[in-house]
């Protein structure tokens, strides 16, 4: 099989973006969880404070990874898609500029106080700085999603002589898919962190009785997980409707629906084969998914309407099913734990060991769903970089296959190493407690 440089560039960009978004999501949702812990600890409750102390270290690790990989993504937008900025620079420039400015302000003003200044400022000032970090991260995510959602549903700007000119910034930022995509991004971040917390705490509880801080974290995470997954179901429906309306090709690919007008079926399993225009090994039930684009006469649009301009069908098809399966599992586990007879589910020590094992097996389910969700969103837009107007092949650069292959290998090795280090340090901390951090030197 021949792999074109374009394919390598796509893989590299999507992989980098996934890594960045994973840690941005973890840091974002952890910041809000930490704010909650800090607020509950305001009367000096040692349990909530212990939960804060443990998870703030994990937050610091995730924040560093998110920041560092964010710089990489920023440069890759230019080095992998040189012509993209020529097309959308007027829109991407300010939005990314706002994201960088937001991160700069939150980091230089508040993060230092949050991580290293707890003993030097009053408790209220420290809590305030946690709040500002959490709010700042949410705002940074907002700018990123504003740009990402605009590339899906480009509104408020017109392509003039190969360059988008903005007519209405309000319409650009609050484009039709922004509310759904921002909601999805924020909720999936909460879900990822909630399951990370549940899984780590359950893992600890399997070996020794849970400490008050661990119980506090478990309770919070359980409620957050159940709330986030239920809300995500609602937002997901909205997003599916939005995609069906604006990106019927993506909707048909996700549904595995090939022939326009045929009675749609809900495909549970199969392998979409572009050559044969059908799903191999299909296992489906009658009754179509509602998220199919409709022609003017109301008949569903299949992939045959968009031949040559389809996203990578098997990838979109399977990423959606991965996300849905993980979501169903997380819903099941969180609701079952929450509804455990006699409210014992809120206390990890009261749960049977086998169920703790199930929960700890789910530790990274939310994280995988975050990455799969972002990958699906990126792949579903293909072959476009800006849906309907700018294709990826048109904005691709001149880097050769060899260069891209070395670059991809380098990023792959580094990101695998950092991921392994993060997981190792998470479980080391869970087992032996956090390593005391001292920052040498005369910080003001």
């Amino acid at each position: 099989m021949e792999i074109a440089p374009l394919q390598l560039a796509r893989i590299q960009f999507v992989a980098s973006l996934g890594f960045h978004m994973l840690f941005l999501s973890i840091a974002l949702a952890l910041a809000w969880m930490l704010l909650f812990f800090k607020w509950r600890a305001r009367r000096g409750d040692a349990g909530w404070m212990a939960a804060y102390r443990f998870w703030v270290r994990i937050f610091a690790l995730a924040f560093v990874l998110a920041l560092a990989s964010g710089v990489a993504v920023l440069f890759q937008i230019g080095s992998l898609w040189p012509v993209l900025m020529e097309r959308i620079g007027n829109i991407a420039g300010p939005l990314i500029g706002f994201a960088v400015a937001t991160v700069f302000v939150l980091k230089s003003c508040f993060l230092g106080v949050m991580l290293f200044g707890q003993r030097r400022v009053s408790d209220a000032a420290h809590t305030l700085s946690v709040l500002m970090v959490a709010a700042g991260m949410l705002l940074a995510l907002f700018w990123v999603v504003a740009l990402q959602s605009w590339t899906h549903t480009p509104a408020g700007a017109a392509l003039v002589d190969g360059r988008y000119q903005v007519a209405d910034w309000w319409a650009v930022v609050f484009n039709p898919s922004l509310p759904w995509r921002f909601g999805m991004a924020a909720l999936s971040a909460v879900l990822a962190v909630a399951f990370l917390m549940l899984g780590v705490t359950a893992w600890q509880a399997r070996y020794r009785p849970a400490a008050p801080g661990e119980k506090a974290a478990f309770r919070t995470a359980l409620v957050a997980a159940a709330a986030a997954i239920v809300l995500q179901g609602a937002v997901g429906q909205g997003l599916a409707g939005n995609v069906a309306g604006h990106q019927p090709a993506a909707a048909a690919a996700a549904a595995g629906y090939w022939h326009s007008g045929a009675p749609p079926r809900t495909v549970l399993f199969g392998w979409p084969d572009a050559a044969e225009q059908r799903n191999l090994l299909e296992w489906s039930v009658p009754g179509g998914p509602y998220w199919l684009g409709r022609a003017a006469d109301g008949s569903p649009l299949g992939m045959d309407e968009f031949s040559g301009m389809l996203p990578p069908v098997p990838a979109v098809f399977w990423l959606l099913r991965t996300v849905l399966a993980l979501g169903a599992l997380m819903l099941l586990v969180s609701v079952a734990t929450l509804a455990w007879p006699g409210r014992r589910g809120l206390d990890p020590d009261a749960l049977p060991r086998g169920w703790l094992r199930v929960i700890s097996a789910m530790t990274f389910s939310g994280c995988i769903a975050v990455v799969a969700g972002w990958w699906m969103a990126e792949l579903a837009r293909e072959p476009y970089a800006v849906y309907g107007t700018v294709t990826l092949s048109e904005v691709a650069g001149t880097a050769t296959f060899g260069q891209l292959a070395w670059g991809l290998a380098g990023y792959g090795a580094l990101y695998a190493l950092l991921l392994a280090a993060f997981v190792q340090m998470l479980f080391h901390a869970a087992r032996y407690g956090v390593v005391p951090v001292r920052k040498g030197g005369a910080r003001p």
């Binding site: 270290r57 990489a72 991407a92 230089s108 070395w406 390593v435 030197g441």
Partner: protein, 355 residues
Amino acid sequence: MIPALAASLGLDPSDPAFWMPLLFMGLLFLLVAGGAVLDGFDLGVGLLLGAAPPAERTRMMILLSPWRDANEFWLLLGAGLFFAAFPFAWGAIAGQLYLPLTLMLLGTVLRSVSFEFRLRANAATRPRWIAGFWLGSLLTAFSHGLLLARVVTGYADQPGYLWLALFVGVCAVAAYALLGATWLAMRVEGLLQRAAVGWARHATRWAAAGMVAVSVVLGLANGGVFYKWSNLSDLVVAAAIWGVMLACFVAIEMLLNRMARGQALGLAWLPFALSVLLFLLTLGGLGYSLFPYLILDDLTLWDGAAATGSLRLVLAATVVCVPVMAVFNVLAYRTLFGRERGAEAVAAASVPRAG
């Protein structure tokens, strides 16, 4: 000069489409210069970890920590400003620089993460993160040289330029090592200071060779720059800059010679100050030669700038960031010069137990 430039573009000097890109360019230059010098000594100390005895490495890392937060921001801010204000140049430039940028990013990510993870890692894995910080610094410094070589040759890709790029890459490593070593020589006393003086002496010559190579190639490989320099008044300025740079190198060499023999230790700050000056002169000369182009003789900063409406938004973000940046950097860097403080010395001395 400003009215003439504006007239050549057919714009009024008070037109935002004229002055906003110029303002952003000035700011960007400040960020690049700040990053090269202030992230530069950090990078240099990182490079020297490879030469330092293992017992001193932790101390060197701790020496850096007060500035780390501030240092690592220059790249993100510079990239963010470039991206936001000059989006049409971003792709055109970054697309030419895939490999060096990839090296730089791998290095930068490894450096940032290694530094922060080392603080939070258990004792057994700390040496690995120090090695990661060293490797990241090496990749970053080398890639800066590659980038510089590509920029000064106008992105020419004939085979001969590969050797130039590799040479400038090595020299960039030396230049950062010089900056880091002279900073260390100022910062600490005793054996580490002795060692730092020795490293600085090795690095000086390579740094000088690199700076000469960059300026010669910049003039000879680009007709526009050569023409600019051959203008008599410009030639005087250029010659004066080269004279000052030569004097800096000679002074550094002499001072380091004395310091190696244990003399002139009261002037230990001077080699660092002169190295900073050298960096600023090199960058200043480069900026002056390129101006008003972002890509030589091809794309001016006005061609690369976003539409005025977008620039206004970027300006709004900048107005928020600049005061924060000023306060933050003054607080962070006010202790940059001078000796290791008591608190640092205590932290450094207590490291084995803290581990």
